[in-house]
């Protein structure tokens, strides 16, 4: 007698996928569970769980897996998914490679520290997964370029977490700028936060400690150079150390500088010259990124972009200044001079920018249509480049000349060395 094995039982035995990937079936937004886009979440700390909740609010997808090197994070994410789904289908993993190997998962939602972006993303793309990845695209220029190349090479769909591009007011502001409503743009002032925010009040625990049992610290470090564990080094505040992040500048470049690029039409270009200064604090032995910074970037066509963080003179957001007026846009709203600009409409013969109905929805739709999402990898690479170059300028104390076509630093072999970083053995891209 032949025994009957259900699909779920087969999956448990490793014989069959738990979900039928949406890529193999007919696709639409309101279909049975087996027809939804199956998502694997890699990195499920605070940002990862927030992303999970945002996806769960969208029809047509389901959480098939959660992965983290911190067991506490993992348990919280699994509970979030299973409570929402009303079942226990969300499987948990310690190593992302196991998630990537699942043939029943369509896409990966990646919310990892910056120093992991390059390796994890390239591996996921190579495994045939589409990826929603957090901004900035990666820790440094070379790894970001590797991600953008892998997206193109494997024909995958990539959405960066630069969600402001899916917000009507940011799109409208950029459309006004692109259609010449403020005349020729001479300058964009981008205001970012400064300082080292102590999110969880653990900044004072900056002396070496034994890693907690729930955290696989060696794996957390991954490609970063060895350094002993301390709570201030890891979750959330990792971004204040150069081995894992790049301070507020790199943390926010994917938002307001990204909008500056969108408005200037620089999604396939970049600055030609970057000069930056930074202020550092020695208070915390781990947090070594600048607490205040000012980056001046000159773009083809003559526009200047001033990126300021930790200073009061530049307001948060992006302010486009043209020869005939200005437009300021932030999450708080839009302002313009003349004010009548805000009442104007984009006409039929004018440039329209990419319409995204919502950042998470846009990604899911593109997984089905294979169109590049609104914050594609190549775009995110270009948006992050002023920060990569700005940090190099701060660290070398020199003005960096950049060829945006060839994507090369011009005439400065020392500065060029900062575009990439060696990785701890055995990690590689």
């Amino acid at each position: 007698m032949r025994s009957r094995i259900t699909r779920r039982a087969a999956a448990k035995l490793g014989l069959a996928p738990l979900f039928v990937p949406a890529a193999a079936l007919g696709l639409n937004g309101s279909t049975p569970a087996s027809d939804r886009i199956a998502l694997g979440f890699v990195g499920v700390g605070q940002r990862g769980v927030n992303n999970m909740r945002s996806f769960l609010a969208e029809p047509g997808c389901q959480v098939a897996a959660a992965c983290d090197v911190d067991q506490n994070h993992l348990a919280g994410a699994r509970d979030t998914a299973n409570t929402h789904n009303g079942n226990k289908d969300c499987r948990t993993y310690h190593e992302m490679e196991e998630v990537f190997a699942r043939s029943d998962i369509d896409a990966i939602v990646m919310s990892l520290p910056d120093h992991w972006h390059g390796i994890a993303s390239v591996q996921a793309l190579q495994a045939g997964k589409d990826v929603f990845g957090e901004k900035p695209l990666s820790h440094n220029w070379a790894e970001a370029r590797a991600i953008a190349d892998a997206v193109a090479r494997y024909g995958r769909v990539w959405q960066t977490g630069s969600w402001q591009r899916s917000h009507a007011s940011f799109r409208f502001a950029c459309e006004l700028v692109r259609n010449g409503r403020i005349g020729k743009v001479t300058r964009v002032e981008v205001g970012l936060p400064g300082g080292h925010e102590d999110f969880d009040g653990l900044g004072h625990r900056n002396l070496p400690e034994k890693p907690p049992r729930e955290l696989d610290y060696n794996r957390w470090l991954g490609p970063a150079p060895f350094a002993p564990y301390a709570p201030a080094r890891v979750h959330r505040t990792w971004r204040w150390n150069f081995d894992y992040g790049g301070g507020m500048l790199l943390d926010w470049v994917g938002h307001h500088v990204d909008i500056a690029h969108w408005g200037l039409g620089m999604d396939d270009s970049g600055p030609e010259e970057v000069s930056a200064t930074g202020e550092f604090s020695t208070q915390n032995p781990i947090w070594n990124t600048p607490v205040a910074f000012r980056v001046e970037a000159r773009y083809p066509g003559g526009a200047e972009v001033l990126i300021s963080g930790g200073h009061d003179d530049i307001r948060l957001g992006a302010k486009f200044i043209g020869e005939e007026g200005w437009i300021w846009v932030d999450r708080a709203g839009l302002e313009a001079e003349p004010k009548s600009l805000l009442q104007s409409k984009i006409r039929g013969g004018e440039t329209r920018l990419y319409y995204s109905p919502g950042h998470f929805r846009n990604f899911l739709d593109c997984v089905k249509t294979r169109r590049a999402p609104v914050a594609a990898a190549e775009t995110a690479l270009r948006s992050a480049t002023p920060a990569y170059l700005g940090l190099i300028s701060i660290l070398t104390g020199r003005t960096i000349r950049w060829d945006p076509k060839k994507e090369k630093i011009v005439g400065d072999a020392v500065a060029e060395r900062f575009l990439s970083r060696p990785m701890r053995s055995p990690w590689r891209l």
Binding site: A23, A24, L25, G26, L27, N28, G29, Q126, A127, G128, D149, A152, R153, Y154, G155, N206, L207, P208, P225, F226, P228, A230, F280, T282, P285, I286, N288, E335, K339, S340, Q343, S344, K345, R347, G348, G349, E350, T351, R352, Y355, P357, D365, K368, T369, R370, R371, T396, G397, A413, V414, R417, F418, S420, R421, P422, R424, S425, P426, W427, R428
Partner: protein, 633 residues
């Protein structure tokens, strides 16, 4: 915590010729540095490394590495060498490759130091290095594209250590010299799967190095021989990039591949190959694909930017699969033209279309580019039936088609209520000076309160787009009006239009006897486009006896306060203090407390603290106090 042995400061200075004394002193401060210590000594060294001649600095740093400084200190110094080091620093770094404690920090520096000496050192160090560190050295040789390492890498790629095999194959792919490409071919023949992915990278690097013919040959081999989807996709992409139209046969063949990922990738890559012949080929494939395949192909056709694809996309609006119909509708937002206008409006209006397709049709109508699309919308409005007409009128408003204004004016007289309402809404976005007389006439003539409100909004918008002085007609009409309802409506128009000539009339109406007119004047001033009437409303709130009018005036003042301004924080806080004092109801006090943190001053904090004891607003007050304490501090 890892620490090394004793500190021997003098050795450093003595071992270096022409040592810079400042750097020597700074380095002495770093010798006992560990991960838990203040970074100031590191900053001091970094500053000197940035400013002193690199050659001199390098020798001192290299000498430091021979000392028994802490490992954290040596790690820091290796990072400095990785930035300014030259071949002179290589011997000491090479000597560190044999130790588990120092191999990684030394390799980081060697990876970044230019020239052939670091590569020789890494190759020499490979055998001596601890096992865990070997993949790292192999990776670095790959990053540096060391052609002399090919033989050693080929050997490692055939070993039994899976990690080393992966690293070595990847390194060969990066190097992509003729020998490396041959080695990868041999590895593929032996069934080393890591060689497949590495070969795709090698082909890309060959192309990047200018060796297009070899690159093409390798891509073709990989496409023809590999059963791995990821390898075939990489190869197909390479063929599409390098050969363009000539790659069409392979790409078209891949559209029927049994692997859906290969199929999807082939469509995506074909999209980037220009030319109407490719468009035709793609269109021919459309009926042969499954519904998900048709979704992808319809989208790809739209993204090609080839107008000859538009009819096929339009035809897909009637596809049997609903997801294809939605995809085709969405695709028209990108590629649609004037010929798509009526069809889209019909879809948007049709109760038989599903909701997703109706939404997509509206978005396409709003966002299709081209002035001819605007003209098509305007000319289609007149003959359209009710539902379709409403969609076209809505689109005319969303697109701000000024040229549609006269057509819209005729539609506000439509016998169908839905059309009239849509036309009024659209006129708010399009009407200008030319439409002011007609809209004023409509407002004065209508007996319906709802339509008066509609025409009031459209007239306000038209006035706001008109030159100064155009509101004189409205003021004259107000003075001639014989019903309170019309006067109230005209006062609203004046407020919303925000033209200077109506402000005196709104101000004087605050003292009118008819409470409805006073109410309308308050609301008119509240709608003012800047904060000019703020003090007027505040003063009025201070003396008016009618409690409803006072509440409206206070709310108006709070609204005007939110307009962008150069007003100093202190003055804004004075306004909020006055509103707080006059407010009788918790709602207005809560609104004050919500605004206070926008003006972080001690006075603002004092106002918030004063409200903590009022039970009805205590929670909001505490929140404001917390926010203000953070920013005032």
């Amino acid at each position: 915590m890892r620490k090394a042995g004793l500190f021997l400061p003098l050795i450093l200075a003595l071992s270096v010729q022409a040592a810079d004394p400042k750097l020597d002193a700074a380095l002495a401060g770093v010798v006992k540095y560990d991960y838990d210590q203040n970074r100031q000594p590191l900053f001091d060294v970094e500053e000197l490394v940035r400013t002193l001649p690199a050659a001199e600095v390098e020798l001192q740093l290299a000498a430091f590495l021979k000392s028994d400084a802490n490992l954290a200190a040596k790690d820091f110094v290796c990072r400095q060498l990785s930035l300014i080091g030259s071949e002179a620093a290589v011997p000491v770094l090479e000597s560190m490759l044999a130790s588990a404690d120092t191999v990684e920090m030394a390799r980081y520096a060697l990876e970044r130091i230019p020239g052939s000496a670091p590569l020789d050192a890494l190759r020499n160090g490979l055998d001596k290095a601890p096992a865990d560190a070997k993949p790292g050295i192999v990776n670095t040789l790959g990053v540096r594209r060391d052609t002399k390492a090919v033989a050693a890498l080929e050997k490692l790629a055939s070993s039994s250590d899976a990690v080393l095999v992966g690293s070595a194959a990847a390194a060969l792919g990066r190097i992509a010299s003729p020998e490396a490409v041959a080695a990868l071919g041999a590895l593929r023949d032996k069934g080393v799967s890591a060689a497949l992915e590495a070969s795709v990278i090698a082909a890309e690097n060959l192309a990047r190095d200018g060796n297009r013919a070899e690159a093409l040959k390798l891509f073709e081999t990989l496409n023809a021989s590999s059963s791995l989807a990821v390898t075939r996709i990489g190869a197909l992409r390479g063929l599409a990039t390098l050969s363009g139209e000539k790659a069409a046969p392979q790409l078209v063949a891949a559209m029927s591949d049994s692997d859906t990922q290969v199929q999807a990738a082939a469509i995506q890559f074909l999209q980037t190959v220009p030319g109407p012949a490719i468009t035709s080929t793609m269109i021919e494939q459309l009926p042969k694909l499954s519904a998900p395949g048709r979704v992808r192909l319809v989208t790809a056709l739209a993204l090609r930017g080839d107008r000859s694809a538009v009819p096929a996309v339009r035809a897909a609006l009637n596809d049997s699969a609903p997801e294809v119909r939605v995809a085709a509708t969405e695709a028209l937002a990108i590629a649609g033209d004037s010929g798509s206008v009526v069809t889209l409006a019909e879809i948007a209006a049709s109760s038989s279309s599903d909701e997703a397709q109706r939404d997509a049709a509206r978005i396409a109508l709003d966002r299709m580019q081209g002035e001819d699309v605007d003209r098509a919308i305007v000319s289609a409005i007149g003959p359209a039936v009710e539902g379709v007409k409403i969609e076209l009128v809505r689109a005319a408003g969303e697109r701000g088609i000024v040229e549609a204004s006269d057509v819209l004016l005729s539609e506000v007289r439509s016998p169908q209520r839905g059309v009239r309402s849509a036309a009024f809404r659209a006129l708010r976005e399009t009407a200008g000076e030319a439409q002011v007389p007609a809209l004023l006439e409509l407002l004065l003539a209508t007996k319906s309160a709802a339509e008066r409100r509609d025409s009031e909004r459209a007239l306000s918008a038209a006035l706001s787009r008109s030159p100064a002085g155009r509101s004189a007609d409205v003021v004259a009409a107000y003075q001639a009006a014989d019903t309170a309802a019309v006067r109230v409506s005209l006062l609203q128009v004046m407020g919303q239009s925000g033209t200077a000539e109506v402000l005196p009339l709104l101000r004087t109406t605050l003292s009118a006897e008819d409470p409805e007119l006073v109410r309308a004047a308050i609301l008119g001033l509240t709608e003012w486009p800047n904060d000019e009437p703020l003090q007027e409303l505040l003063a009025f709130a201070g003396k008016v006896e009618n409690p409803t009018h006072q509440i409206l005036a206070l709310r108006g003042a709070l609204k005007l306060l939110e307009h962008p301004t150069d007003r100093p924080h202190g003055e804004s806080v004075d306004v909020l203090a006055a509103v707080m004092q006059l407010a009788q109801q918790p709602d207005e006090k809560k609104a004050v407390l919500a605004q206070l943190p926008s003006y972080p001053t001690r006075e603002a904090l004092k106002i918030a603290e004063g409200a903590v004891s009022e039970p009805a607003v205590a929670e909001e007050a505490k929140m404001a106090v917390r926010r203000l304490q953070r920013s005032v501090r």
